[in-house]
């Protein structure tokens, strides 16, 4: 039994002849902020897609808290404790902000269809409970005041925040953030860093994030893995990795 929260063993996937990710080995301890970086097309989002059941790995395995989740469906994986955000925001855009979060929470209430249709007491009880929890969560992200706004009407930065809140609503053990700072200005990025730290401390969360913004990565991550062309280029503590000549070459090109 390993003492890592997430452990991947030679996780690989290929589409036709293209090896999109090859032998990715991640070891993430509980409560860690772990960064996954690399140039465009390095296979970062592909790794996320494997970890959340969107793609089935061609070979290799991954474990959450010692439990093998390889090949499970996206729904199962989410229920076992991995939640994610998306690179191109995928909110439920025609639903209100609070409803977005409530969808994330729906697996936490045991209110059957019959009880819902016939409005049994259990419906009112669970609905009230969920709504309070959802509002508390939105409050953390400063979104409670806009809970009735349609998600698509939120400004961009708040949409990103809402995606994180929605992922947290599923009560995960591990949170995957896919380019959370994309499209943000430096000030918003700084705020986001605070938020991510806060999530880690407040919810006792482990976070794996993909990011291009080096100030964010070096600012909050404990450890890094660098991918390039689907393979692992470097792994280790932030300062070691960022000074690794291979990494510098991958990012800046040869002399």
């Amino acid at each position: 039994m390993s003492n890592y929260l997430l452990e991947t063993k030679n996780l690989s996937i290929s589409f036709g002849g293209l090896k999109a990710a090859q032998d990715v080995n991640l070891k993430i301890t509980k409560n860690e902020l772990y960064g996954l970086i690399g140039p465009n097309g390095a296979g970062k989002t592909t790794v996320f897609n494997m970890l959340t059941g969107v793609y089935r790995p061609t070979s290799g395995e991954f474990f959450l808290d010692g439990e093998n989740l390889t090949g499970k469906s996206a729904i199962d994986i989410n229920r076992r404790g991995i939640a994610r955000t998306f690179q191109n925001i995928r909110l439920f855009s025609n639903m209100s902000v609070i409803d977005n979060v409530l969808v994330g929470m729906s697996n936490q209430s045991k209110c059957g269809i019959f009880a819902s249709i016939f409005r049994l007491p259990s419906y009112y009880r669970t609905e009230k409970e969920l709504r309070e929890k959802a509002r508390a969560l939105l409050d953390v992200f400063g979104l409670d005041g806009e809970r009735r706004t349609l998600a698509s009407n939120l400004p961009y930065g708040k949409q990103r925040k809402l995606e994180i809140a929605r992922a947290l609503a599923t009560n995960p053990k591990l949170l995957l953030l896919d380019e959370p700072a994309a499209g943000m200005n430096p000030q918003e990025t700084a705020e986001l860093m605070e938020t991510i730290r806060f999530i880690r401390d407040h919810f006792d969360m482990t976070v794996l994030l993909i990011e291009h913004d080096m100030s964010l990565v070096s600012g909050i991550c404990d450890e890094l893995t660098v991918l390039n062309f689907g393979t692992t280029l470097a792994q280790g503590s932030v300062s070691d990795v960022l000074h690794n000549p291979e990494v510098v070459r991958a990012y800046l090109g040869d002399e």
């Binding site: 959340t52 059941g53 969107v54 996206a74 729904i75 989410n78 939640a83 994610r84 998306f86 191109n88 995928r90 909110l91 439920f92 855009s93 025609n94 639903m95 209100s96 409803d99 977005n100 409530l102 969808v103 994330g104 729906s106 209430s109 209110c111 269809i113 819902s116 249709i117 419906y123 669970t126 609905e127 009230k128 969920l130 709504r131 309070e132 929890k133 509002r135 508390a136 409050d139 953390v140 409670d144 009735r148 706004t149 349609l150 698509s152 009407n153 939120l154 400004p155 961009y156 930065g157 949409q159 929605r166 992922a167 609503a169 599923t170 499209g183 943000m184 200005n185 430096p186 291009h212």
Partner: protein
């Protein structure tokens, strides 16, 4: 999660939650009073029953099309199953049970449940399909059902199944069923299950990632919609005899779809009004027009479909649409009436009035997320990498 909540949720009486019951109830009561005081002609009763089962069909199809966001072209097929099976059983039950009311209720249950079973059987495999493929598969299902019933001699074959017509009070039961349909669909919509279904419509991949059991909910919507279509079929079978397979053709599925589209996809009140209106017009046209002029009916349907969809969906018309939208009008009135009041909130439950759109694949693949244009000022500059 211990952060204190800023303000407790107030329980308010929301008119919009009950508007549909009021709408149907008032309509029904007017005729009930007319019936009690001066009696209704048989032709009026027939029209009322037709309106009632059209509402049931439109509201239930709206669950699939507007709520779940999938197109079903086989709704008449489920109605067909309900009508044949329910009325077939009713013919036998009449020999055992003297009360026609009890027979009707039992027949509706049987017809509805069998149609729901068909909904399950056809839904289980076909819901793996998406969009156009699902539409074609449901269309195929409807035609298969019709062909099979046409050729089964036990159900009267091509001549149709002879049924026992119910007396003039059928419209009362039909309207009670309408209220029950509204009760089930609206309560389902305003629950965690309803939210999950809407989430699937808005973004299926994200819904999966949030642990929403997509297959389960799709199947559930399909089953419930099929159930009510089956019940509507049984009501039809108690109004019209013989029950003939030709009625349940693909054309009728489209007619129901026209009701849903005219009323606004996802808008229950709209479906009720459109079903009433179209059924009324349809009955009038059929009695007034003869021969080839009957094609006018389909011409009108066609124009409604094209005009409504273009108006609601064409990207080029977006600005015009927003200028004349009902929401804007309401917001305007609200500002005039209460100058000090805060801007109206979007409703707590995401409104159905918005046309549900699955994100088109092309847009998704080619563009990044675009924030709403009204928030241009809040949009951060994209930092260069």
């Amino acid at each position: 999660m211990t952060t204190p909540v800023s303000a407790p949720e107030k329980k308010k009486f929301r008119l919009k939650y009950y508007i549909n019951y009021l709408l149907v109830g008032a309509f029904f009561l007017i005729f009930l009073i007319m019936d009690m005081t001066m009696g209704l002609r048989t032709s009026s009763v027939q029209l009322l029953v037709k309106i009632a089962y059209s509402i049931i069909l439109a509201v239930s199809l709206n669950m699939v099309v507007g709520f779940l966001g999938e197109l079903s072209l086989g709704h008449a097929g489920f109605m067909c199953v309900g009508a044949y099976i329910g009325c077939f059983c009713a013919n036998y039950l009449h020999k055992v049970i003297p009360s026609p009311l009890v027979v009707l209720i039992l027949a509706m249950l049987i017809g509805g449940v069998v149609a729901a079973v068909f909904g399950f059987l056809i839904g289980l495999p076909t819901l793996r399909l998406k969009g156009d493929y699902l539409a074609i598969a449901t269309l195929a299902f409807g035609e298969i059902v019709r062909t099979v019933f046409k050729n089964l001699n036990a159900f009267g074959g091509a001549l149709g199944l002879t049924t026992k017509r119910y007396d003039n009070s059928l419209y009362i039961i039909a309207f009670l069923v309408v209220l029950f349909t509204l009760f089930v669909t609206q309560n389902l919509k305003r629950s965690k299950h309803g939210r999950a279904i809407e989430a699937i419509r808005d973004n299926e991949i994200a819904a999966r990632a949030m642990g929403v059991n997509v297959t389960y909910y799709k199947l559930m919507v399909f089953i419930i919609a099929a159930f009510f279509a089956g019940v509507a079929g049984v009501i039809y079978g108690h109004l019209v005899t013989p029950v003939s397979n030709t009625f349940f053709s693909f054309n009728y599925s489209i007619e129901i779809l026209v009701m849903v589209v005219l009323g606004g996809m996802g808008n229950v009140s709209g479906s009720i009004i459109a079903a009433t209106l179209l059924t009324f017009i349809n009955v009038q046209l059929t009695t007034q027009l003869s021969g080839d002029m009957a094609a006018l009916k389909y011409l009108i349907y066609a124009l409604i479909l094209i005009a409504m969809v273009l108006w609601n969906n064409a990207p080029a018309l977006r600005d015009v649409r927003e200028k004349f939208s009902l929401h804007r009008l309401l917001a305007f009135l609200n500002r005039k009436l209460h100058p000090a009041a805060e801007t109206p909130d979007a409703p707590e439950i995401a409104d159905w009035d918005k046309i549900p759109t699955k994100i088109p694949m092309d847009a998704l693949l080619s563009t990044d997320i675009k924030p709403d244009h009204t928030f241009e000022a809040d949009k951060p500059e994209k930092p260069s990498k």
